[in-house]
Amino acid sequence: MLPPYLWSNLAVLLLFGAGVALGVYLRRNRLWREALSSLVRRRPLAIAALCLYVLVGLLDSVAWVGGPAAGADTVAAHEARSVIDRVFAGTPESSYSAPLATVSFYGAQPLESPRGHLLGTDILGRDVLYRTLKGARVALLIGGLTSLISIPLALLFGVGAGYFGGRLDDAVFFLISTLASMPSLLLLIALIMVMGRSTLSVCVALGITSWIGFARLARAETLKLRELDYVQAARALGVRDRRIVLRHILPNLAHLVVITLVLMFSGLVLSEVILAWLGIGVDGSWGQMIDQARDEFSRDPIIWWNISAAGGALFGLLLAVNFIGDALRDILDPRTLREDA
């Protein structure tokens, strides 16, 4: 029996496992192996940065109960705490603190751990570096979980419509045009307002609004692939539809899936920032940190470290992902995927 607090940690581990399995599977294929090694050659820094984020996210996903808690905090002792939680245990302050705050806010309490805060603390005395590191897991969860929802959905509808055509195609095309014509941010907000606020509902809402573009692409590609000689030959030999789709259509869409996965990621994380600002984001995300810190920016003396830490971490992740996405697109597919507006 799994305790309920572990589900999101489990999700991250599952995502990671799926990623590793995909990597191992791809390495067996010569084309993919060459693409991967050329990606590593072209973007070594971006890949190293992404690995760092993934590592931090994983360290925050391995959680267990027990061990010494922060100071006399008896509640925390009964909760599952991750590796990151444990590293930063025992460093709560009462408010903004050294080394970044030069003036003491809300009276001058002594510092609990004078040399413990590389990036200072926020208004409630929480370590900023700690919160920033914890945001990595949330960002990876938003991007990863949403892709796991939206890509299968897009493949199901897109390939189904493109391969079988006829009435099914008409129906799917109508559904796609209907969803595409709704303003996506408003649809996203409406979905979350209706489903209620939680990490899962944010991811589901993002998944529902983001599958359309790729479904359209998958449909167009399937329409082309369906007419190719080897598919026609397979059909003439009496191969079943399901087998044709699995053996001949889907492998030829694989590179598009990989490119879309990476290109979609940054858009999803950026959307979450806007959702956080509207108060319907995911708890603990960088978006939420930025939202909470933007009023502190107008204080005097200015509180800059909160927003800079969250913004910098977000920027770094998106930069790495965007560069990898660009290179991947060049390597795998220079023609069809220019960029869907």
């Binding site: 109508f174 559904l175 045009s177 209907t178 969803l179 595409a180 014509s181 709704m182 303003p183 941010l185 408003l186 649809l187 907000i189 409406a190 979905l191 307002m193 209706v194 489903m195 940054s266 950026l270 920032v273 806007i274 600002w277 509207l278 108060g279 319907i280 978006g287 930025i290 939202d291 933007r294 920016f297 107008s298 927003i307 913004g311 977000l314 920027f315 998106l318 930069l319 965007n322 560069f323 660009d326 220019r338 960029e339 507006a341």
Partner: protein, 319 residues
């Protein structure tokens, strides 16, 4: 041509009907009128108060046609399609009046962003494409990806801090419809709007232009003795406009919707900040109307895109 436009409009009408049905599912079937009333009045509202609120806002009917002749589904379609939007769930102001007031204000923000952004993006991308495969090109693309990786929230906060607080060039936020001062209030939001969008646009347009430079007609023009600058401006730019148009024309209808973040951060009372208020106040009636109008405009934009295609590119036949 006319037959094509009529057929596209007809299909668009069905899409709008589909949107209305989805909206009904979301806002009436999934979030029931009881939920909406409870959100408006608070968790501890008395059942009688909920009933009164539902009667006042017209939510007191059965949902589906098979439950009663006078149902919410019919009401929803009738009010939306006749543009009789009713009153806001939050403060009973007629939604149509708000729309009329806000649209002009939103346009005064979004049109300058659109025009300046498009001009700047085309100029920059032509410049970068002119120096393709040199270090100017590489660093230009690098800057674009850099600009794309920053959240718009950070652009806004950064601009407010730097331009308004440190340099004191413009007010931090606010709006005044008086023509003599409105530019002072709009300058910074327009700047942020242009900056936050230009990275992605330049990168996209550059790909288009660079791709065009390897076409046959470019080689022909060069062999006729046309200079590289002339080729860029008179040949590549004109042919590159087709994919650019698709992206641009589709954006025009949304100018009416305003910009959610820019308007609410800079205190501009347009449709964007109206939408944000609706979200914060659980004003489902206004939110429904905004989604409906957005999709209506999108469908219109698609028809206009298809038609303008045929005007720009004689090869495209509307069949």
């Amino acid at each position: 041509m006319l037959a094509f436009v009529v057929r596209r409009l007809f299909y668009g009408f069905f899409v709008v009907l589909g949107v209305l049905f989805l909206l009904f599912i979301l806002f009436f079937a999934v979030a029931s009128p009881d939920d909406i009333a409870r959100r408006a009045l608070g968790e501890k509202a008395l059942p009688q108060a909920l009933e009164v609120w539902k009667v006042n806002h017209g939510y007191d009917k059965p949902l589906w046609p098979w439950q009663a002749r006078d149902n919410l589904l019919a009401d929803h379609f009738r009010s939306m399609l006749s543009f009789d939007f009713g009153r806001s769930d939050a403060d009973d102001v007629p939604i149509a009046r708000r729309l009329r007031q806000g649209a002009g204000v939103s346009l005064s923000l979004t049109v300058p962003i659109f025009v300046l952004g498009l001009g700047l993006a085309v100029l920059l991308s032509l410049f970068v494409a002119f120096f393709r495969e040199t270090y100017i090109d590489t660093s230009g693309v690098f800057l674009c990806v850099l600009a794309m990786s920053v959240s718009i929230l950070l652009y806004i906060v950064g601009a407010q801090y730097l331009v308004a607080k440190l340099l004191r060039w413009f007010p931090i936020s606010g709006y005044d419809p008086d023509l003599r001062v409105v530019a002072r209030f709009l300058a910074m939001p327009v700047l942020v709007g242009v900056l936050s969008g230009v990275g992605g646009d330049v990168r996209f347009y550059r790909t288009v232009f660079v791709e065009e430079t390897s076409r046959d007609y470019v080689r022909t023009a060069r062999s006729k003795g046309a200079g590289e600058l002339r080729v860029m401006i008179f040949h590549v730019l004109r042919n590159g406009m087709i994919p650019i148009l698709t992206r641009v024309v589709l954006a025009i209808p949304f100018l009416f919707m305003g910009a959610l973040l820019l308007e609410s951060f800079f205190g501009i009372p347009g449709l964007g900040s109206m939408t944000v208020d609706a979200i914060n106040n659980n004003d489902f009636a206004t939110l429904r109307v905004m989604v409906f109008i957005g999709s209506l405009l999108f469908v219109l934009g698609q028809v206009i895109t298809d038609v303008s295609y045929s005007l720009v590119d004689p090869r495209v036949r509307l069949e």
